[in-house]
Symmetry: C2
Subunit: 315 residues, 2 copies
């Protein structure tokens, strides 16, 4: 989901979005979170969509049909996790070239349905068209009675992240270099798991702001900082790097690699239940920095500023 009434972090992609949003003016009602948060007749809903196109977001020699479907649906569901919503259903708009409208299409739809089913959501329908490249847009709808927004971080909060970072970027780098990625890095790219239950737990344990890592840790931290009107400090050496990431580039890949679908969350200073989270979900929850008065993201490595480069641009 990309849509904003509240500020976005820096970058060319976001300059373009700002121009689009300016033009829409009052007709745009999004609140700048990962999912649009709306209320209809007393029902509090979160909605988001994620568009993935062959050649840009995946390649068919990288992924199976099921994985293409799973990944597109999981990416959209991750936007619901980012606001701590409970997935209800999905619409799948799918375009396929001639020759991919039989078994391939059925398996792709099966991947979408399995990703939805894994979070308790169902497939409500969609659209099916002929297209020059495999095209998948999944729209997700969830219940969001107590959403966590990007905008609630307070100076003094701790900055935390779930999981081990860098796996998806490592897989893509291997493919792009003509190598076979390490299986567990490949799995992080092909089979991301939206952190739905983890997000609800974090909300129930006091999360003040949250975002999912789709643009990369530093990029998404920038969006959260801008939305909350605070500064964030990331201590790079605290970030847990996926073991498949090559040691020479580990920290940079973890800081800027996108498509992680882990959660970046701010929690009150006194939060001390990371071990309980880890046991419950078999997933690390790691403090990687804090929230300060100010703006933007400062990345420190062993106490000295570092410039990790740009995150992944979907655009």
């Amino acid at each position: 989901m990309t849509g904003s009434g509240t500020p976005l972090g820096p970058g060319g992609e976001f300059d373009r979005l700002r121009a689009v949003f300016r033009r829409l003016g009052p007709r745009l009602r999004g609140a700048g979170d990962d999912a649009a948060l709306i209320t209809v007749d007393g029902a509090h809903l979160a909605l988001s969509c994620d568009l993935a196109i062959e050649g840009r977001h995946f390649r068919l020699d990288w992924l199976t049909a099921e994985e293409v479907g799973w990944r597109a649906c999981a990416a959209a569901l991750s936007d619901l996790a980012a606001v701590a919503a409970e997935p209800l259903g999905v619409l799948a708009a799918v375009g396929v070239p001639e020759g991919r409208d039989g078994e391939f299409l059925e398996r792709l739809m099966d991947g979408i349905a399995r990703a939805a089913d894994a979070t308790g959501a169902v497939v409500w329908g969609g659209d099916l068209v002929r297209a020059p490249h495999v095209t998948v847009d999944v729209t997700v709808v969830g219940r969001a009675d107590q959403p966590v927004r990007r905008s609630g971080a307070q100076p003094g909060d701790g900055l935390w992240v779930t999981g081990l970072l860098g796996g998806p970027r490592t897989a893509v780098s291997a493919w792009e270099a003509g190598r076979t990625p390490p299986p567990d890095a490949r799995d992080r790219f092909a089979h991301p798991v939206p952190r739905i239950a983890e997000a609800a737990w974090l909300r129930d344990h006091g999360a003040t702001a949250m975002i999912d890592l789709s643009d990369g840790l530093v990029g998404d931290a920038g969006h959260l900082a801008a939305a909350s009107g605070v500064g964030l400090v990331v201590e790079a050496e605290r970030v847990l790097v996926h073991p498949a990431v090559g040691a020479d580039e580990a920290v940079v890949v973890a800081l800027v690699g996108g498509e992680e679908y882990e959660l970046l969350v701010t929690l009150p200073e006194g939060f001390g239940e990371a071990e309980g989270f880890g046991r419950r979900f078999n997933l690390p929850l790691t403090r990687i920095g804090g929230v300060a008065v100010g703006e933007g993201v400062r990345v420190l490595r062993d106490g000295r500023p570092m410039q990790p480069g740009r995150g992944f641009s979907h655009f």
Copy 2:
């Protein structure tokens, strides 16, 4: 919207959909209407999406950027009209090639927003990616407290249609032959108007079943007949043909031309307020046949069976 637990009419596109739906099994919960009808915490919602891709659904030498956006959004909104829902908001997932990410993109988004605004809906957000061809998927959400379904037609009902048919197909045929389409046929293709208020009026005047004309009159009548478990009789000479359609092919174009976004509706035998509809909306509402015991669609011309050919396939 394409999604079905209830029967679809005949055709290769629909065979493919049936295979996909079989595979999804109980994970698919759509009810087979133009829009998915769901209830969340007491709120009755209708959702649909429409995916349009450059080269397949439109060409950039046919339409302006605004028209591409308007048309994609109007097509999705027309699915809400088909179930007599009230549009609330839209998500727009847009992909554009390099070089179309400035003014072109802003104007495309403006077209989406204007189509939404014209029905009282707002833009909640969306997704923006780089794509090899201009790609637009619009998801619409509406309130559907009293939806009209495809499945309610009863033997003895009259079969009615709004508007003048054949304009969009005439425009496309002209472009494909290298000619400039008549301006009002072009406008019917480039600037379709979802029949939102008309649908609410029809619901309030007893509509028993409804569908919008996206696949062509005969094709969509087949879906309605299958969903209702009835037969439909279309008297071809009653169909009002758009004046831009060439006289030699008028009836066939009106019967099978797609992308009309007019409404096909069944109304009780005693319905006699077509003139009031016409005055209110400045749009004809024409009885073109009736509902019978049986199945499928019989097209008669001056009382004799005719075979008008296939409708437009999106696939």
